[in-house]
Symmetry: D3
Subunit: 339 residues, 6 copies
């Protein structure tokens, strides 16, 4: 089955290990971005995953594209043009020191995309699912309109749409996000968000929860899911629940709300190798499991197990197979050597 995701692919530059930016004499060169990460997840599960973006013609843009081809993502729909590839600098945290991200993504080829760059009727042809995140419209310019174009086209073609709210305070204000996302959401079938997004974007807050104290109220988030559904008519809402004990250790789980029922996943204590892309790997797992016909609880468990494993993988991309996810979702969390 074919899934199309749409968003920005950035160059990720990260000092080795736990070096701080001011210590580094080299930077790891990988690529990532919310929707591209989802596409890689899906390609690794054997799906026909296509990623749509705009990349500059030069070698750095080419290297970005190659990073997707390497994992089998369909890159035929990628538009080439513009001048620069967006960048994010990532400093990995440990213990009480959180990771630090510095964005240098303004004026990227993708952010300057024009509506005419994307022929959605062609790009979405044959697709079962279209996915994007709140980062894409947050980049501004014509991107909110392009997202609307894509969603309308998807609806016309009967394609399921999903969106990860993914609020980024450095890209837009809560007010801007609320307005733009509020217009797009009615076209979205499946809404994914984390423990903070609904509050940031739509002012929908979980009762009894303090994110920075690292303790979340399960009950509070049922209310969030219910209200999101009520407001936008989603078919389902998934909320990932991260308890941040430290930069090295988190608890990770999720809930899924659909048909007025709520499902909670197992919760995993994760020892973190790289937590960037955790939410994206959840979306990737959820889309795969749903399209593969898993029942609701199993789909949720697959998505949470997939994203649990992501925390053990360096880079944005979740490089795990469906079999590996199934093994964990099926209960083997012992991390024994496989020979």
């Amino acid at each position: 089955m074919r899934i199309v995701t749409f968003g920005e692919l950035m160059l990720r530059l990260a000092p080795p290990g736990y070096e701080r930016f001011v210590q580094a004499s080299s930077l790891g060169m990988t690529f990532g971005g919310g929707e591209a990460n989802v596409a890689v997840s899906l390609a690794n599960y054997g799906m026909n995953a296509a990623f749509v973006t705009k990349l500059p013609q030069h070698e750095i843009g080419q290297a970005a594209l190659n990073s997707l081809r390497k994992y089998g993502v369909d890159t035929v729909g990628i538009v080439r043009g513009g001048k620069r590839l967006g960048i994010y600098y990532l400093e990995k945290g440990a213990s009480q020191r959180g990771s630090k991200v510095i964005y240098d993504r303004a004026e990227s080829a993708f952010a300057l995309s024009e509506r005419g760059d994307y022929d959605w009727a062609v790009l979405l042809n044959g697709a079962s699912c279209f996915h994007f995140t709140g980062i894409t419209p947050a980049l501004g310019g014509e991107l909110p309109a392009i997202c609307m174009d894509a969603l309308k086209c998807a609806k016309k073609l009967g394609i399921t749409t999903s969106c990860d709210l993914n609020y980024r305070g450095n890209l837009w204000t809560r007010e801007q996000a609320g307005k733009v996302m509020g217009e797009l959401m009615p076209m979205v079938d499946v809404c994914v968000c984390n423990e903070e997004d609904a509050a940031d974007v739509f002012g929908i807050r979980a009762a009894d929860t303090s994110v920075h104290a690292g303790k979340l109220s399960r009950e509070g988030y049922i209310g969030v899911a219910r209200e999101l559904t009520a407001r936008f008519g989603f078919k389902s809402v998934a909320i990932t629940l991260r308890e941040s004990i430290s930069a090295s250790d988190n608890n990770w789980g999720a809930l899924l709300y659909t048909d007025e029922k709520v499902y909670f996943s197992k919760q995993y204590p994760v020892h973190i190798v790289d937590r960037v892309g955790g939410g994206d790997s959840f979306s990737g797992g959820l889309i795969y499991a749903t399209l593969s016909g898993f029942d609701t609880q199993a789909a949720l468990e697959f998505a949470v197990a997939a994203s649990c494993l992501k925390h053990s993988v360096e880079g944005d991309y979740n490089l795990v197979s469906a079999a590996e996810v199934q093994r964990l979702a099926g209960g083997d969390a012992s991390g024994r050597v496989r020979r």
Copy 2:
């Protein structure tokens, strides 16, 4: 005192850090193998440890041999010949993602060994102890017969023999293992195994234990040791007990059964740097402590402390001194800086 170990030495190729195989652009190049690992342990404790194997003449075979010479292992008995060095690819796991081993050891120079390659009367001359693991006969060909040759020669020379069952399901079936090992065991004085081996090889199972759930029953394993002893007449049986909490954290301990008495070691919560070779370092510690005349409990504590430390050392080889092991066995597990 001179100890001879016999088995395969492989090239170990591992991506840096926690990279997955598909991410790697380089592979760490070290060497290892159950019996070679034991020899290095013993050389590091100051013993006269000789390792017997067959290695190809080319530079990769030479590098393997050099890795042993570097740590003072006697390599004079190593036969040179054959075409390829066995390889294992190792991907280190973290958190819920287990380590992954891919073997490429078929048709290695060692696996194709012939009985005429090894003159045991010469090789075992002057030795106090002969050690091998179940991996060696599992390689097939003439190796079961060669193991029998070695054991018979050892018995004739009055040398103590030890064997780590070390079941590898990708090398032979449980049935094959049970048959071959069943024939060799009567020649063995000391049997070492882990929490799974006795069940895999001889169908002797610990009551009340689920290895994948990470909780082991101490009582159950007394029964295993007793039955092994009853069946094969071992002078002693040691069983390492690993509780796998995750790929990053394990609990590690062991029991020793001898003269109808059982001894349990302290249990260590280990934060894993590299767990490959953990069992081998236990055997190395046990042989050293036994040959050095430690009393039974002290010998067991030395072996467990040695293998506890191994989990903090990169590579197959346990690069710790007897003094370091003694310090831990003596109670200082605080990991404070030594200046």
Copy 3:
């Protein structure tokens, strides 16, 4: 405000990651030393921090000096001359295996310093604070006298003086330390030490405490602080309290005793990236917070948070900003990503 610190700056040579010395084929090249570490902390907080030492003229000495300039430390007072830069080799421990330090610092340019090398009236001109550690007089030669020169000059200029006892058993005996430090302490206003120093240097022991068992008695250390104050007339005494669970995990806190009152900080469970320089980063934080007019509890919390963060930073130097320390001291220990 200008702070002057005085001591040795060494080349630190450390194998990558958790490699043992005998495995290494390269060594990380950084620089560090108790008082230099304090100077870097202060420069990172925006203070005018000057470091005084003696470095050889050659390129290795120059690289040492450059490592301080890079972070904005004033190096104008550094004397150039002598032949060699002191070295310490550092092997990072993990789990039950402690870190190992091998010193090669004898006959360094600094250790062979002469009183005439340092014109304290010039060096301390305009300073608010002078800081050194017990390592400096421990190096012997003329250094105890030079320390006395500096302290006398500081007292004459009305500069606050602080000293971290920092006992090093490989540099001098407890008796030597007690005698020399006992003569210098009356000139010192603020005394910093760790959970072992007071006992090692002055025989002042905390009741109910076993450092190697990793459990410290808070009450016992109040007595230590009180006795230190009684004996030497310190304005305040700060004691860092490290509970060593393993080489990977420590609990970290401190107490401050001043005006006959005792203040305890929060205690942090730290997952260790690099613990060398932990005490120095505490001194740096305490000096900064005190000179910045924080109240006593806040100053202590700043110092402990600063040194908590140090444990997550590679190298001797604590490369964190005052804002980062404040964020942790203010309660956000969740280690969430900052974008």
Copy 4:
């Protein structure tokens, strides 16, 4: 235009820089093989290049496949199965020390290919060109027959066929090579070889030439080309001419013989970064230029310039664009910075 190449893809393991095998503690992990190298060249020029081989299902096999996808090679026709990926170890030489290759490719998944693995009618569907090298039949087993299957199918479909003789003395004897290649050659249109192959495979020697003395006779090779053409009816014969001054410096050129005319290329003095794959990059350039309709001299110059540039690129694959090759072929060999 679609080109299909067929052969083995191996894991290439090479110590960093100029380290010898016995010095290495890591090995660069890349992939390569004569025909795969040609496919990557062509994909980099924008052609529709498909590579056919057989790779094991495991992650090392997957990494090999990914290395081709990354550069846009069509991997749909790759058969998955078998146990091991062939390996070659490469030690890079310098000055008077030649590079050293150790092969460990026996029993690879590809070498054990069966005729039934490849459905040539499907694989060659729509192709303009089919390319293989003498290494493929040299691997033995069913591979000579499979090559014959492919060539017959190509002929039936009217596809141009090319073969690089690529004699490997460690795979077969001159006699074996002569016999097998002699049977395949009548189905081949374009023959590529280096300054030694024709003599090794078919006993056709250039007059006045000593390869090891590093001086080649241009005239002598015209005779070689003429005799090859006479014997097998090739449409054209290309011979690369390498003068080995040292492992660091070579002179590089080629001749092309077609329609009874001989064309000589410019000769380039190359300072070598990595010479493996030099011949393959020539074949890739020649196929591209020929299929693109270049005139004969221009096609030869393109092929030689392409392979000249290959010597400056690390790894087997020639990662240069057609524009870069054209710039060099057009005369700009100054190596100035392009901004």
Copy 5:
């Protein structure tokens, strides 16, 4: 003596060794820019060198600033603000493959500088020399006006001014460059350029010269220097003369024209480690030698020897001492080991 240089400092991201961009999995992280490179040269010679620019407040900007402090450059005049640090990606060439630079410097903090950011009366206070290159005005916005501000202020203060024409075709057209530089040049005392700049910026061409063929006419460049002097009234004109044999080997020399006399330097055959910053190191050497009172020929020889050595140093900055330059300028080009 105090020298002030003004321009952009960029993050330089370069694959290791000779890797192409599409191969890299990490990028070396250094910093450079024409005028900053000159400042570092001068600081290494012991001059009081100040660099003026504008850098963002974040850690990447800080790392850039630190790279200058490390080598003793005075960074007090650096303005902090703006959002991004300009970047250039550098792929090092070899043999016939030239190096490749991809700029991503638009919208940098420096490029968006405003006239009010720089208080030249303060910045130039006490300076003997002010230096900039043609890249600074080429960045557009207010920078041409800011350069004019600086030059006027310098003239008022009696400071010698120098400019390296440094034409960059990707920043502006020849016409734009000619117009803007034509207005600034009358305020400049010393003009530096390479073998192409005068033609690119002012249409002044050397007779008998083909840069891409790697052969330059010494006579032709005398004419260039004479015409530049005639047009703009320079006190002296220096022209570096690079003969590009390949990306690995260049010949390097220069001429200096002053008081109607021409001086030619020795010419050095350089084996290139890193040629970026070659011209800047020439300017640095020339400024140092001139300010130090060298006679004309000696000053030219110092500048050429300095820049010859730069080609052996990785990174933009020329990290050589005046003594090292003098040794080469004095005739010892044998590259023998210094112990």
Copy 6:
């Protein structure tokens, strides 16, 4: 045959690639020293080579010892004790920038050796040859006397003795060297030196030669050999002749004078990877070839070919086999790939 060499083994710390000391953030960790280098050469040729020195007991000393064991050197005669391992920092030069060595070897365990540390009757038992260099007595203390002890013992045992003059101006003056070496030389059978040593140590100068201009007079060196022989009664004198074109390119050859006849070797143009240990590899080759019964010209050619190859090997040790040397000495300098 058994050869014993005696001298210091140092830790060699070198920045990666062509980095300057002030750029390095890591240092390659290898070991080397004139006489140890000879021992490794001989062990690689399959000789029974023993190295005698004194090394500290700690892990850095152990790593040094391991580096010899790895290559099969007999380390049984190494004395353990003392405090520090001598160090040399090596910065590799390129083109016109020469390599730079900074020694930090004073007060090393070896330099502080006492006569009682070495029982020469035991150490030289069974040896055919004893070798040392002028560096050993240059270290002072008891070492000149220890060298005399060794030489006397060797003479008593009928062992051939050889010495490489190896003058180091930073260890002693020409006068000191001349005096001490003048006393030792009468006990030496074979004298090896480079193009500068005889002049530095004994004031014997080659006519018509300028070392720094990179051109040596073959005739002049015949006179040097003749005079050395006349003065000290050597059985043979070998002089290596290095023409330093640049730090990257040298010409390398040698002469051997024996029985009043002079033999000149081929001269090799070497492209340098690492030239440290070049002279030692010559001594190693000469000892091997002589002990193996090569005729004089062949022995000289072997020694020169061995040391030619050394220039292509990283580190002090010459890691080449006798077969590789023979291939080059036999005429194949083309550096072609060996498969």
